[in-house]
Protein backbone atom coordinates (compact mmCIF):
# COMPACT_ATOMS: atom_id res chain seq x y z
CA UNK A 1 0.00 0.00 0.00
CA UNK A 2 1.71 3.11 -1.24
CA UNK A 3 1.01 6.71 -0.76
CA UNK A 4 1.53 8.64 -3.93
CA UNK A 5 5.19 7.92 -4.58
CA UNK A 6 5.67 11.17 -6.51
CA UNK A 7 5.29 14.43 -4.69
CA UNK A 8 4.24 17.57 -6.59
CA UNK A 9 7.86 18.61 -7.11
CA UNK A 10 8.63 15.31 -8.83
CA UNK A 11 5.53 15.57 -10.96
CA UNK A 12 6.36 19.10 -12.00
CA UNK A 13 10.00 18.41 -12.86
CA UNK A 14 9.08 15.18 -14.63
CA UNK A 15 6.24 16.50 -16.71
CA UNK A 16 7.87 19.82 -17.59
CA UNK A 17 11.55 19.17 -17.91
CA UNK A 18 12.43 22.60 -19.33
CA UNK A 19 16.09 21.70 -19.26
CA UNK A 20 15.84 18.56 -21.33
CA UNK A 21 18.23 18.57 -24.24
CA UNK A 22 21.85 19.15 -25.14
CA UNK A 23 23.86 22.36 -25.22
CA UNK A 24 25.53 22.08 -28.58
CA UNK A 25 29.26 22.42 -28.12
CA UNK A 26 28.94 22.72 -24.37
CA UNK A 27 30.88 21.06 -21.60
CA UNK A 28 29.71 17.50 -21.25
CA UNK A 29 29.47 14.92 -18.52
CA UNK A 30 28.04 11.44 -18.66
CA UNK A 31 27.60 8.82 -16.03
CA UNK A 32 26.00 5.41 -16.06
CA UNK A 33 25.37 3.13 -13.12
CA UNK A 34 22.71 0.75 -11.77
CA UNK A 35 20.91 0.98 -15.08
CA UNK A 36 20.60 4.78 -14.76
CA UNK A 37 22.18 7.08 -17.33
CA UNK A 38 22.59 10.83 -17.01
CA UNK A 39 24.14 13.24 -19.45
CA UNK A 40 24.68 16.87 -18.54
CA UNK A 41 25.85 19.59 -20.86
CA UNK A 42 26.57 23.20 -20.00
CA UNK A 43 27.49 26.43 -21.63
CA UNK A 44 29.92 28.07 -19.21
CA UNK A 45 31.35 31.48 -19.88
CA UNK A 46 33.14 33.81 -17.50
CA UNK A 47 32.74 31.17 -14.86
CA UNK A 48 28.97 31.33 -15.05
CA UNK A 49 26.78 28.45 -16.15
CA UNK A 50 24.75 30.22 -18.85
CA UNK A 51 22.84 27.19 -19.94
CA UNK A 52 22.45 23.78 -18.41
CA UNK A 53 20.77 20.84 -20.15
CA UNK A 54 20.28 17.15 -19.41
CA UNK A 55 19.26 13.83 -20.82
CA UNK A 56 18.41 10.98 -18.50
CA UNK A 57 17.31 7.40 -18.53
CA UNK A 58 15.86 6.19 -15.29
CA UNK A 59 12.94 6.31 -12.98
CA UNK A 60 10.90 9.49 -12.47
CA UNK A 61 12.94 10.46 -9.44
CA UNK A 62 16.18 10.38 -11.41
CA UNK A 63 14.71 12.45 -14.20
CA UNK A 64 13.13 14.91 -11.78
CA UNK A 65 16.30 15.20 -9.70
CA UNK A 66 18.35 15.98 -12.79
CA UNK A 67 15.87 18.58 -14.00
CA UNK A 68 15.79 20.12 -10.54
CA UNK A 69 19.57 20.27 -10.47
CA UNK A 70 19.54 22.13 -13.80
CA UNK A 71 16.89 24.54 -12.56
CA UNK A 72 18.93 25.27 -9.47
CA UNK A 73 22.34 25.74 -11.05
CA UNK A 74 21.64 27.37 -14.38
CA UNK A 75 22.79 30.99 -14.10
CA UNK A 76 25.02 30.39 -11.11
CA UNK A 77 28.77 30.42 -10.87
CA UNK A 78 30.38 27.17 -11.86
CA UNK A 79 32.36 27.33 -8.62
CA UNK A 80 29.10 26.93 -6.75
CA UNK A 81 28.82 23.43 -8.14
CA UNK A 82 31.18 22.54 -5.31
CA UNK A 83 28.27 23.16 -2.97
CA UNK A 84 26.08 20.64 -4.76
CA UNK A 85 24.89 17.83 -2.59
CA UNK A 86 22.11 15.45 -3.40
CA UNK A 87 20.59 15.54 0.08
CA UNK A 88 18.46 18.69 -0.30
CA UNK A 89 17.27 17.51 -3.70
CA UNK A 90 16.33 14.15 -2.27
CA UNK A 91 14.39 15.99 0.40
CA UNK A 92 12.64 18.29 -2.05
CA UNK A 93 11.63 15.31 -4.12
CA UNK A 94 10.91 13.00 -1.16
CA UNK A 95 13.01 10.30 -2.73
CA UNK A 96 12.31 6.96 -1.05
CA UNK A 97 15.29 5.37 0.67
CA UNK A 98 15.49 2.45 -1.71
CA UNK A 99 16.19 4.88 -4.51
CA UNK A 100 18.95 6.81 -2.77
CA UNK A 101 21.58 4.92 -4.72
CA UNK A 102 20.09 6.09 -7.98
CA UNK A 103 20.28 9.73 -7.01
CA UNK A 104 23.94 9.29 -6.21
CA UNK A 105 24.38 8.70 -9.94
CA UNK A 106 23.41 12.36 -10.34
CA UNK A 107 26.02 13.31 -7.76
CA UNK A 108 28.63 11.44 -9.74
CA UNK A 109 27.56 13.09 -12.96
CA UNK A 110 27.71 16.54 -11.38
CA UNK A 111 31.19 15.76 -10.07
CA UNK A 112 32.16 14.73 -13.53
CA UNK A 113 30.69 17.97 -14.92
CA UNK A 114 32.68 20.01 -12.41
CA UNK A 115 35.84 18.28 -13.50
CA UNK A 116 35.01 18.89 -17.14
CA UNK A 117 34.41 22.59 -16.49
CA UNK A 118 37.72 22.85 -14.64
CA UNK A 119 39.43 21.15 -17.55
CA UNK A 120 37.86 23.59 -19.94
CA UNK A 121 38.84 26.57 -17.78
CA UNK A 122 42.43 25.40 -17.53
CA UNK A 123 42.47 24.76 -21.27
CA UNK A 124 41.07 28.25 -21.89
CA UNK A 125 43.50 29.91 -19.48
CA UNK A 126 46.49 28.21 -21.03
Amino acid sequence: MSDNPYNPAVRDCFSDPDHAGIVAGGVEAFFEDQGMRIRLSADVSEGVIRELRFLAWGCPHVIAATELFCRQFEGRHAAELEQFASDPIMQDLAVPVEKTGRILVLEDTVRSLRAAIKDQLSTTQE
Binding site: Y6, S15, F30, E32, R37, L55, W57, C59, P60, I63
Partner: protein
Amino acid sequence: MSEDADPVYLDYAATTPLSPQVAKRMRDVQENAWYNPSSSHQGGRISAAVVALAAEQLAALLSVDPTSLIWTSGATEADNLAITGTARQREHRGKHLVTMRTEHKAVVDVFRTLEKQNFDVTWLDPDADGHLPIERLEAALRDDTQLVSIMHVNNETGAIQDVAAIGTACKKRDIVLHVDGAQATGKIPVDLTNLPVNLYSLTAHKFYGPKGVGALFVADGTRIDPLMFGGGQQRRLRPGTLPVDLIAGLGEAAAVAAVSMLEDLEKLSELKSRLLAGIQDIEGLNINGPVEGGFPGILNVGVDGVEGESLLLALEPLCVATGSACNSQSQEPSYVLRALGRSDLEAQSAVRFSLGRPTTPADIDIAITLYRRAVGKLRKLAPKAVVQ
Protein backbone atom coordinates in the same frame (compact mmCIF):
# COMPACT_ATOMS: atom_id res chain seq x y z
CA MET B 1 -11.07 8.88 -9.27
CA SER B 2 -10.44 12.39 -8.21
CA GLU B 3 -6.68 12.77 -7.86
CA ASP B 4 -6.31 14.12 -11.38
CA ALA B 5 -8.58 14.68 -14.30
CA ASP B 6 -10.17 12.10 -16.56
CA PRO B 7 -8.34 8.88 -15.90
CA VAL B 8 -8.69 6.03 -18.34
CA TYR B 9 -8.69 2.64 -16.66
CA LEU B 10 -7.22 -0.19 -18.69
CA ASP B 11 -6.24 -2.45 -15.85
CA TYR B 12 -9.21 -4.83 -15.74
CA ALA B 13 -6.90 -7.81 -15.25
CA ALA B 14 -5.90 -6.33 -11.90
CA THR B 15 -9.46 -5.84 -10.76
CA THR B 16 -12.87 -4.83 -12.05
CA PRO B 17 -15.70 -2.72 -10.65
CA LEU B 18 -18.89 -4.42 -9.54
CA SER B 19 -21.36 -5.02 -12.31
CA PRO B 20 -24.52 -3.04 -11.51
CA GLN B 21 -26.49 -6.26 -11.31
CA VAL B 22 -24.02 -7.70 -8.82
CA ALA B 23 -24.07 -4.56 -6.70
CA LYS B 24 -27.85 -4.68 -6.62
CA ARG B 25 -27.94 -8.31 -5.61
CA MET B 26 -25.40 -7.76 -2.84
CA ARG B 27 -27.35 -4.83 -1.45
CA ASP B 28 -30.49 -6.92 -1.40
CA VAL B 29 -28.73 -9.72 0.46
CA GLN B 30 -27.11 -7.29 2.89
CA GLU B 31 -30.54 -5.94 3.75
CA ASN B 32 -32.68 -9.06 3.71
CA ALA B 33 -30.47 -12.10 4.08
CA TRP B 34 -27.51 -10.97 6.15
CA TYR B 35 -27.76 -13.90 8.57
CA ASN B 36 -25.20 -16.57 9.26
CA PRO B 37 -25.96 -19.38 6.79
CA SER B 38 -24.86 -21.91 9.41
CA SER B 39 -27.48 -20.81 11.93
CA SER B 40 -30.28 -23.29 12.26
CA HIS B 41 -32.99 -20.68 12.68
CA GLN B 42 -35.20 -19.09 10.06
CA GLY B 43 -32.69 -16.33 9.31
CA GLY B 44 -29.90 -18.81 8.83
CA ARG B 45 -32.01 -20.79 6.43
CA ILE B 46 -32.75 -17.71 4.35
CA SER B 47 -29.04 -17.05 4.02
CA ALA B 48 -28.32 -20.70 3.33
CA ALA B 49 -30.76 -20.55 0.44
CA VAL B 50 -28.93 -17.51 -0.93
CA VAL B 51 -25.66 -19.42 -0.79
CA ALA B 52 -27.25 -22.42 -2.47
CA LEU B 53 -28.52 -20.25 -5.31
CA ALA B 54 -25.08 -18.69 -5.78
CA ALA B 55 -23.53 -22.15 -5.92
CA GLU B 56 -25.95 -23.04 -8.67
CA GLN B 57 -25.14 -19.90 -10.61
CA LEU B 58 -21.41 -20.48 -10.43
CA ALA B 59 -21.82 -24.18 -11.10
CA ALA B 60 -23.80 -23.38 -14.23
CA LEU B 61 -21.03 -21.12 -15.53
CA LEU B 62 -18.46 -23.88 -15.08
CA SER B 63 -20.72 -26.84 -15.89
CA VAL B 64 -20.09 -28.53 -12.58
CA ASP B 65 -22.12 -29.78 -9.67
CA PRO B 66 -22.85 -27.06 -7.07
CA THR B 67 -21.64 -29.33 -4.29
CA SER B 68 -18.16 -29.41 -5.81
CA LEU B 69 -17.51 -25.74 -4.99
CA ILE B 70 -15.65 -24.52 -1.92
CA TRP B 71 -15.94 -20.81 -1.13
CA THR B 72 -12.67 -19.06 -0.35
CA SER B 73 -11.46 -15.49 0.14
CA GLY B 74 -10.14 -15.39 -3.43
CA ALA B 75 -7.92 -17.18 -5.91
CA THR B 76 -4.86 -16.76 -3.72
CA GLU B 77 -6.45 -18.84 -1.00
CA ALA B 78 -7.91 -21.28 -3.53
CA ASP B 79 -4.45 -21.75 -5.09
CA ASN B 80 -2.85 -22.25 -1.69
CA LEU B 81 -5.54 -24.68 -0.62
CA ALA B 82 -5.42 -26.67 -3.84
CA ILE B 83 -1.65 -26.95 -4.08
CA THR B 84 -0.71 -27.41 -0.44
CA GLY B 85 -3.82 -29.50 0.13
CA THR B 86 -2.92 -31.91 -2.66
CA ALA B 87 0.77 -32.04 -1.83
CA ARG B 88 -0.03 -32.98 1.76
CA GLN B 89 -2.81 -35.37 0.89
CA ARG B 90 -0.58 -37.33 -1.52
CA GLU B 91 2.74 -36.87 0.23
CA HIS B 92 2.96 -40.53 1.11
CA ARG B 93 2.74 -41.48 -2.57
CA GLY B 94 5.48 -39.21 -3.82
CA LYS B 95 6.91 -35.74 -3.57
CA HIS B 96 7.30 -34.62 -7.16
CA LEU B 97 5.27 -31.62 -8.30
CA VAL B 98 5.19 -29.81 -11.63
CA THR B 99 4.35 -26.23 -12.49
CA MET B 100 5.45 -23.43 -14.82
CA ARG B 101 7.70 -20.45 -14.39
CA THR B 102 4.96 -18.17 -15.68
CA GLU B 103 2.42 -18.90 -12.97
CA HIS B 104 0.99 -16.21 -10.74
CA LYS B 105 2.79 -15.53 -7.45
CA ALA B 106 -0.08 -17.19 -5.59
CA VAL B 107 1.08 -20.43 -7.23
CA VAL B 108 4.82 -19.80 -7.54
CA ASP B 109 5.29 -18.88 -3.90
CA VAL B 110 3.34 -21.90 -2.69
CA PHE B 111 5.61 -24.21 -4.67
CA ARG B 112 8.67 -22.35 -3.39
CA THR B 113 7.46 -23.02 0.14
CA LEU B 114 6.87 -26.68 -0.64
CA GLU B 115 10.38 -26.90 -2.08
CA LYS B 116 11.70 -25.79 1.28
CA GLN B 117 9.69 -28.63 2.79
CA ASN B 118 11.53 -31.15 0.65
CA PHE B 119 9.08 -31.44 -2.17
CA ASP B 120 10.73 -31.74 -5.56
CA VAL B 121 9.33 -29.15 -7.97
CA THR B 122 9.90 -29.09 -11.72
CA TRP B 123 9.55 -25.58 -13.17
CA LEU B 124 8.56 -25.76 -16.83
CA ASP B 125 9.43 -23.01 -19.30
CA PRO B 126 6.88 -21.78 -21.81
CA ASP B 127 7.65 -21.24 -25.46
CA ALA B 128 8.23 -17.68 -26.66
CA ASP B 129 4.48 -17.05 -26.84
CA GLY B 130 3.88 -18.21 -23.31
CA HIS B 131 2.39 -21.61 -24.11
CA LEU B 132 3.39 -24.89 -22.56
CA PRO B 133 4.44 -27.35 -25.26
CA ILE B 134 2.73 -30.58 -24.24
CA GLU B 135 5.90 -32.63 -24.91
CA ARG B 136 7.66 -30.60 -22.26
CA LEU B 137 5.00 -31.53 -19.77
CA GLU B 138 5.03 -35.20 -20.81
CA ALA B 139 8.80 -35.28 -20.44
CA ALA B 140 8.60 -33.87 -16.93
CA LEU B 141 6.08 -36.34 -15.53
CA ARG B 142 7.49 -39.11 -13.38
CA ASP B 143 6.28 -42.09 -11.45
CA ASP B 144 6.27 -40.07 -8.27
CA THR B 145 4.59 -36.99 -9.74
CA GLN B 146 1.49 -36.14 -7.68
CA LEU B 147 0.39 -32.73 -8.85
CA VAL B 148 0.58 -30.49 -11.90
CA SER B 149 -0.51 -26.88 -11.56
CA ILE B 150 -0.89 -24.80 -14.71
CA MET B 151 -2.86 -21.60 -15.09
CA HIS B 152 -5.61 -21.27 -17.66
CA VAL B 153 -5.16 -17.68 -18.88
CA ASN B 154 -1.94 -15.88 -18.06
CA ASN B 155 -2.52 -12.64 -16.19
CA GLU B 156 0.37 -10.79 -17.82
CA THR B 157 0.24 -11.97 -21.41
CA GLY B 158 -3.23 -13.40 -21.94
CA ALA B 159 -1.74 -16.69 -23.18
CA ILE B 160 -4.29 -19.51 -22.93
CA GLN B 161 -3.01 -22.97 -22.08
CA ASP B 162 -4.37 -26.14 -23.61
CA VAL B 163 -5.95 -27.42 -20.43
CA ALA B 164 -7.61 -30.36 -22.17
CA ALA B 165 -4.29 -31.74 -23.42
CA ILE B 166 -2.57 -31.07 -20.10
CA GLY B 167 -5.40 -32.75 -18.22
CA THR B 168 -5.33 -35.79 -20.47
CA ALA B 169 -1.61 -36.21 -19.89
CA CYS B 170 -2.15 -36.02 -16.13
CA LYS B 171 -5.18 -38.27 -15.99
CA LYS B 172 -3.41 -41.12 -17.75
CA ARG B 173 -0.91 -41.18 -14.91
CA ASP B 174 -3.33 -40.54 -12.02
CA ILE B 175 -1.76 -37.14 -11.40
CA VAL B 176 -3.92 -34.40 -9.92
CA LEU B 177 -4.27 -31.31 -12.14
CA HIS B 178 -4.88 -27.94 -10.57
CA VAL B 179 -5.71 -25.02 -12.82
CA ASP B 180 -5.54 -21.40 -11.70
CA GLY B 181 -8.53 -20.03 -13.54
CA ALA B 182 -8.50 -16.57 -11.98
CA GLN B 183 -8.15 -14.83 -15.36
CA ALA B 184 -10.35 -17.27 -17.27
CA THR B 185 -13.50 -17.61 -15.19
CA GLY B 186 -16.32 -15.47 -16.47
CA LYS B 187 -14.20 -14.36 -19.41
CA ILE B 188 -13.75 -17.38 -21.65
CA PRO B 189 -15.88 -20.52 -21.80
CA VAL B 190 -14.85 -23.00 -19.12
CA ASP B 191 -16.59 -26.36 -19.18
CA LEU B 192 -15.18 -28.40 -16.34
CA THR B 193 -17.42 -31.35 -17.08
CA ASN B 194 -15.53 -31.85 -20.29
CA LEU B 195 -12.08 -30.87 -19.07
CA PRO B 196 -10.02 -33.40 -17.12
CA VAL B 197 -9.33 -31.01 -14.26
CA ASN B 198 -9.33 -31.94 -10.58
CA LEU B 199 -9.07 -28.51 -9.02
CA TYR B 200 -9.89 -25.09 -10.44
CA SER B 201 -9.33 -21.75 -8.67
CA LEU B 202 -11.17 -18.53 -9.29
CA THR B 203 -11.79 -15.12 -7.79
CA ALA B 204 -14.87 -12.93 -8.21
CA HIS B 205 -13.28 -9.51 -8.58
CA LYS B 206 -11.70 -10.37 -11.91
CA PHE B 207 -15.12 -10.65 -13.54
CA TYR B 208 -17.16 -7.84 -12.02
CA GLY B 209 -17.89 -9.62 -8.76
CA PRO B 210 -16.83 -8.53 -5.28
CA LYS B 211 -13.29 -8.58 -3.93
CA GLY B 212 -12.58 -10.91 -1.04
CA VAL B 213 -14.39 -13.97 -2.34
CA GLY B 214 -13.45 -16.78 -4.68
CA ALA B 215 -13.93 -20.48 -5.01
CA LEU B 216 -12.14 -23.72 -5.52
CA PHE B 217 -13.76 -26.39 -7.65
CA VAL B 218 -12.92 -29.82 -6.25
CA ALA B 219 -13.83 -32.64 -8.60
CA ASP B 220 -15.72 -35.57 -7.22
CA GLY B 221 -13.22 -38.04 -5.82
CA THR B 222 -10.38 -35.54 -5.50
CA ARG B 223 -9.21 -35.25 -1.92
CA ILE B 224 -7.25 -32.40 -0.41
CA ASP B 225 -6.11 -31.48 3.07
CA PRO B 226 -7.53 -28.27 4.52
CA LEU B 227 -5.37 -25.21 5.05
CA MET B 228 -7.38 -23.81 7.94
CA PHE B 229 -9.28 -25.44 10.76
CA GLY B 230 -12.33 -24.60 12.83
CA GLY B 231 -16.05 -25.05 12.55
CA GLY B 232 -17.60 -27.66 10.36
CA GLN B 233 -18.42 -25.37 7.45
CA GLN B 234 -17.87 -26.52 3.89
CA ARG B 235 -17.22 -30.18 4.47
CA ARG B 236 -14.40 -29.31 6.89
CA LEU B 237 -12.34 -28.05 3.96
CA ARG B 238 -12.70 -24.35 4.68
CA PRO B 239 -13.96 -23.00 7.98
CA GLY B 240 -15.30 -19.54 8.81
CA THR B 241 -18.61 -17.74 8.63
CA LEU B 242 -19.76 -17.71 5.02
CA PRO B 243 -19.90 -14.14 3.68
CA VAL B 244 -23.35 -14.56 2.23
CA ASP B 245 -23.44 -11.25 0.39
CA LEU B 246 -20.06 -11.79 -1.23
CA ILE B 247 -21.03 -15.30 -2.25
CA ALA B 248 -24.30 -13.98 -3.68
CA GLY B 249 -22.26 -11.40 -5.59
CA LEU B 250 -19.97 -14.07 -6.96
CA GLY B 251 -22.97 -16.11 -8.05
CA GLU B 252 -24.59 -13.14 -9.70
CA ALA B 253 -21.34 -12.20 -11.46
CA ALA B 254 -21.24 -15.75 -12.82
CA ALA B 255 -24.82 -15.45 -14.03
CA VAL B 256 -24.10 -12.15 -15.74
CA ALA B 257 -20.95 -13.56 -17.31
CA ALA B 258 -22.77 -16.60 -18.61
CA VAL B 259 -25.11 -14.34 -20.51
CA SER B 260 -22.70 -11.70 -21.76
CA MET B 261 -19.52 -13.70 -22.36
CA LEU B 262 -19.69 -14.12 -26.11
CA GLU B 263 -20.65 -10.51 -26.63
CA ASP B 264 -17.88 -9.41 -24.25
CA LEU B 265 -15.31 -11.49 -26.10
CA GLU B 266 -16.31 -10.10 -29.47
CA LYS B 267 -16.13 -6.55 -28.20
CA LEU B 268 -12.78 -7.09 -26.52
CA SER B 269 -11.35 -8.55 -29.74
CA GLU B 270 -12.36 -5.47 -31.67
CA LEU B 271 -10.95 -3.14 -29.05
CA LYS B 272 -7.69 -5.04 -28.85
CA SER B 273 -7.30 -4.87 -32.64
CA ARG B 274 -7.98 -1.16 -32.51
CA LEU B 275 -5.36 -0.66 -29.83
CA LEU B 276 -2.77 -2.74 -31.61
CA ALA B 277 -3.44 -0.97 -34.90
CA GLY B 278 -2.87 2.34 -33.15
CA ILE B 279 0.56 1.52 -31.77
CA GLN B 280 2.07 -1.26 -33.83
CA ASP B 281 4.06 1.06 -36.06
CA ILE B 282 6.03 2.42 -33.10
CA GLU B 283 9.65 1.57 -33.72
CA GLY B 284 10.99 -1.19 -31.54
CA LEU B 285 7.58 -2.25 -30.25
CA ASN B 286 7.23 -5.90 -29.36
CA ILE B 287 4.30 -7.91 -28.15
CA ASN B 288 4.81 -9.96 -25.02
CA GLY B 289 2.72 -13.09 -25.33
CA PRO B 290 0.74 -14.63 -28.13
CA VAL B 291 0.10 -12.42 -31.16
CA GLU B 292 -2.88 -14.56 -32.06
CA GLY B 293 -5.27 -16.61 -30.00
CA GLY B 294 -4.65 -15.16 -26.56
CA PHE B 295 -7.34 -13.74 -24.32
CA PRO B 296 -8.46 -10.58 -26.14
CA GLY B 297 -8.75 -8.56 -22.94
CA ILE B 298 -4.96 -8.40 -22.52
CA LEU B 299 -2.30 -6.76 -24.67
CA ASN B 300 1.21 -6.63 -23.26
CA VAL B 301 3.76 -4.59 -25.17
CA GLY B 302 7.31 -3.43 -24.62
CA VAL B 303 9.43 -0.85 -26.38
CA ASP B 304 13.13 -0.23 -26.70
CA GLY B 305 14.88 2.46 -24.80
CA VAL B 306 12.24 3.43 -22.31
CA GLU B 307 12.31 2.97 -18.56
CA GLY B 308 9.22 1.27 -17.19
CA GLU B 309 8.47 3.33 -14.12
CA SER B 310 8.88 6.59 -15.99
CA LEU B 311 6.72 5.22 -18.77
CA LEU B 312 3.96 4.49 -16.29
CA LEU B 313 4.10 8.01 -14.89
CA ALA B 314 4.30 9.56 -18.33
CA LEU B 315 1.19 7.58 -19.31
CA GLU B 316 -0.95 9.22 -16.62
CA PRO B 317 -3.93 9.54 -16.42
CA LEU B 318 -3.88 6.14 -18.06
CA CYS B 319 -4.19 3.35 -15.49
CA VAL B 320 -2.27 0.34 -16.75
CA ALA B 321 0.07 -2.19 -15.20
CA THR B 322 3.74 -2.74 -15.76
CA GLY B 323 3.60 -6.37 -14.75
CA SER B 324 1.08 -8.26 -12.79
CA ALA B 325 -0.82 -6.05 -10.39
CA CYS B 326 0.42 -8.21 -7.60
CA ASN B 327 4.02 -7.60 -8.51
CA SER B 328 3.69 -3.93 -9.02
CA GLN B 329 4.99 -3.04 -5.58
CA SER B 330 8.37 -4.39 -6.54
CA GLN B 331 10.27 -2.71 -9.30
CA GLU B 332 11.81 -5.90 -10.54
CA PRO B 333 11.21 -6.83 -14.15
CA SER B 334 8.45 -9.38 -14.51
CA TYR B 335 9.64 -12.96 -14.06
CA VAL B 336 6.86 -14.01 -16.40
CA LEU B 337 8.28 -11.98 -19.27
CA ARG B 338 11.79 -13.12 -18.40
CA ALA B 339 10.56 -16.71 -18.74
CA LEU B 340 9.30 -15.83 -22.22
CA GLY B 341 12.87 -14.97 -23.14
CA ARG B 342 12.73 -11.20 -22.69
CA SER B 343 15.81 -9.46 -21.32
CA ASP B 344 15.56 -7.47 -18.11
CA LEU B 345 15.64 -4.29 -20.15
CA GLU B 346 12.90 -5.47 -22.46
CA ALA B 347 10.78 -6.77 -19.61
CA GLN B 348 10.96 -3.62 -17.56
CA SER B 349 9.43 -1.46 -20.28
CA ALA B 350 6.43 -3.75 -20.61
CA VAL B 351 2.98 -2.29 -20.27
CA ARG B 352 -0.06 -4.48 -19.84
CA PHE B 353 -3.21 -2.96 -21.28
CA SER B 354 -6.17 -4.94 -20.01
CA LEU B 355 -9.59 -4.13 -21.35
CA GLY B 356 -12.94 -4.81 -19.80
CA ARG B 357 -16.66 -4.74 -20.23
CA PRO B 358 -16.88 -0.95 -19.67
CA THR B 359 -14.05 -0.14 -22.12
CA THR B 360 -15.04 2.05 -25.06
CA PRO B 361 -13.34 2.80 -28.40
CA ALA B 362 -12.77 6.31 -27.06
CA ASP B 363 -10.78 4.86 -24.13
CA ILE B 364 -8.64 2.98 -26.62
CA ASP B 365 -8.03 6.10 -28.68
CA ILE B 366 -6.92 8.03 -25.62
CA ALA B 367 -4.66 5.15 -24.64
CA ILE B 368 -3.07 5.17 -28.09
CA THR B 369 -2.42 8.90 -27.95
CA LEU B 370 -1.01 8.75 -24.44
CA TYR B 371 1.19 5.77 -25.18
CA ARG B 372 2.66 7.30 -28.36
CA ARG B 373 3.31 10.58 -26.60
CA ALA B 374 4.91 9.00 -23.53
CA VAL B 375 7.21 6.76 -25.53
CA GLY B 376 8.21 9.70 -27.73
CA LYS B 377 8.91 11.95 -24.79
CA LEU B 378 11.02 9.45 -22.87
CA ARG B 379 12.98 8.49 -25.93
CA LYS B 380 13.82 12.11 -26.56
CA LEU B 381 14.94 12.42 -22.96
CA ALA B 382 17.18 9.36 -23.03
CA PRO B 383 20.89 9.76 -23.63
CA LYS B 384 22.41 7.18 -25.92
CA ALA B 385 24.00 4.35 -24.07
CA VAL B 386 27.75 4.73 -23.98
CA VAL B 387 29.69 1.54 -24.00
CA GLN B 388 32.33 2.11 -21.36
